[in-house]
């Protein structure tokens, strides 16, 4: 529920600065995945039925009236608006020298635990901040804040994924410094987040050994796009029926290029490969 206009479906954003940061804690802002009726989007389009010499993407073409209805050709991508915002975000991040990573998994695979450990162990070595997406509560945001990273918590309410507008708003509140990394912890879900470009540079998917090893072929849209797949909770391998080799083979069936790293965010085993991956991609700070 949006505090400004009372509309439903609006996401709520809360800035949780790092402990050493002097910004106010708990500032709540409103961010919405949709345009409000009070947001006037300027439109240069107008309706007309005369002929054009050339195609103008801003024009809407109307075919002659048939009975009392007329057809308006739109040929517009449904996610065009999201993709435009994501592209703007990507350009902004590159110009500033900030690496954004979209971290996705099913609920409970260990996204927040991984980020807690990463924030703690890379403190002083890499500037890391987090955009934390959950349907409700700032619990995860507070966990990562306690580990030392600046966090923007976004509650999507009814939404099952983050979208580009929420992340753009989150980045404005976070104001990440040049040379830093922003990890966007998406809502725990292997289906919906696969469809929404957030403006990130890389996609990382966590699959944990307490899940089925066949997750890549069950959720191919998600795993196909992954640059890196982290197989988490390897400390539990002796107790579960998870075949790492068949997981790797299933991943290859949907993505010939994704890297796979095994680690335990709880014990720290294998986590160096994740840190190395982040360090290799971290941009040099701009002057």
């Amino acid at each position: 529920m949006c505090a400004t206009c009372g509309c439903s479906g609006g996401a709520v954003l809360q800035l949780l600065p790092a402990a050493h940061d002097h910004r106010h804690s708990g500032d709540r802002e409103h961010v919405s995945s949709h345009d409000h009726s009070h947001d006037h989007v300027s439109s240069r389009e107008h309706e007309h039925d005369h002929d054009h010499g050339q195609d103008d993407p801003g024009h809407i073409h109307i075919q002659g009236p048939a009975d009392n209805e007329r057809t308006v050709i739109l040929q517009q991508k449904v996610l065009a608006k999201n993709d435009e915002i994501a592209e703007r975000t990507r350009s902004w991040l590159r110009a500033r020298g900030v690496l954004a990573v979209n971290l996705m998994s099913s609920p409970g695979a260990g996204k927040t635990t991984l980020l807690e450990r990463t924030a703690r162990e890379l403190a002083g070595k890499l500037r890391l901040s987090v955009i934390e997406g959950d349907q409700e509560t700032a619990l995860d945001g507070r966990r990562i804040q306690a580990a030392g990273a600046a966090v923007v918590q976004i509650n999507t309410g009814a939404g099952c994924h983050l979208d580009a507008a929420m992340v753009a708003e989150g980045l404005r509140a976070l104001d990440p410094p040049s040379g830093s990394i922003v990890v966007i912890e998406n809502v725990g879900n292997l289906v919906c987040p696969a469809l929404f470009d957030l403006g990130e540079e890389a996609k990382v998917v966590i699959s944990s050994v307490t899940e089925g090893a066949d997750k890549p072929v069950k959720y191919p849209n998600m795993f196909r796009q992954a640059d890196l797949v982290l197989v988490n909770k390897t400390d539990l391998l002796p107790y579960v029926d998870f075949d790492v080799r068949s997981h790797a083979a299933d991943l290859r069936r949907v993505s010939p290029t994704a890297l796979m790293v095994q680690l335990s965010a709880t014990t720290g085993e294998g986590i160096q490969a994740w840190y190395d991956w982040l360090r290799r991609r971290a941009p040099a700070p701009h002057e």
């Binding site: 479906g9 995945s33 949709h34 345009d35 989007v41 439109s43 389009e45 309706e47 809407i60 109307i62 009392n68 209805e69 007329r70 057809t71 308006v72 050709i73 739109l74 040929q75 517009q76 991508k77 449904v78 996610l79 065009a80 608006k81 999201n82 009814a158 939404g159 099952c160 994924h161 979208d163 289906v191 919906c192 696969a194 469809l195 929404f196 072929v217 191919p220 849209n221 196909r224 290859r252 069936r253 949907v254 993505s255 010939p256």
Partner: protein, 109 residues
């Protein structure tokens, strides 16, 4: 259930392009590889359009089949389901068709 957000995106796009017009029909193209379930969009449509200029509009969906090209053997194929494997066994493929998710046209009263 991203189809709810997708359907909201459709309403937003149409009302943004044609503000104040009474829409009587919306035609969508939902490719077989778009990751969107046409039936779920149908389910959401009446709910999402209520109280908008699209209320009561008919929804027509075409679902073009997927088409892929294998980067290893070079053959083109129609994938069997969402796992895009070439019959030669390679997963190294490019998608030629079927990923689109777009509003092709609308009817205005």
């Amino acid at each position: 259930m991203h189809e709810l957000a997708i359907t909201e995106g459709v309403v937003e796009a149409v009302t943004g392009r044609l503000p104040g017009s009474k829409i009587t029909c919306v035609r969508l193209e939902i490719g077989a590889l778009s990751g969107v379930v046409a039936d779920s969009v149908r389910f959401c449509f009446d709910l999402v359009t209520e109280g908008t200029d699209l209320q009561g509009a008919r929804l027509e969906i075409t679902e073009p089949a997927g088409r892929c090209k294998c980067r290893v053997c070079g053959s083109e194929f129609e994938p069997d389901g969402p796992i895009l494997l070439c019959p030669c066994g390679s997963a190294d493929i490019s998608v030629l068709n079927g990923q689109d998710l777009k509003i092709t046209s609308v009817l205005v009263a």
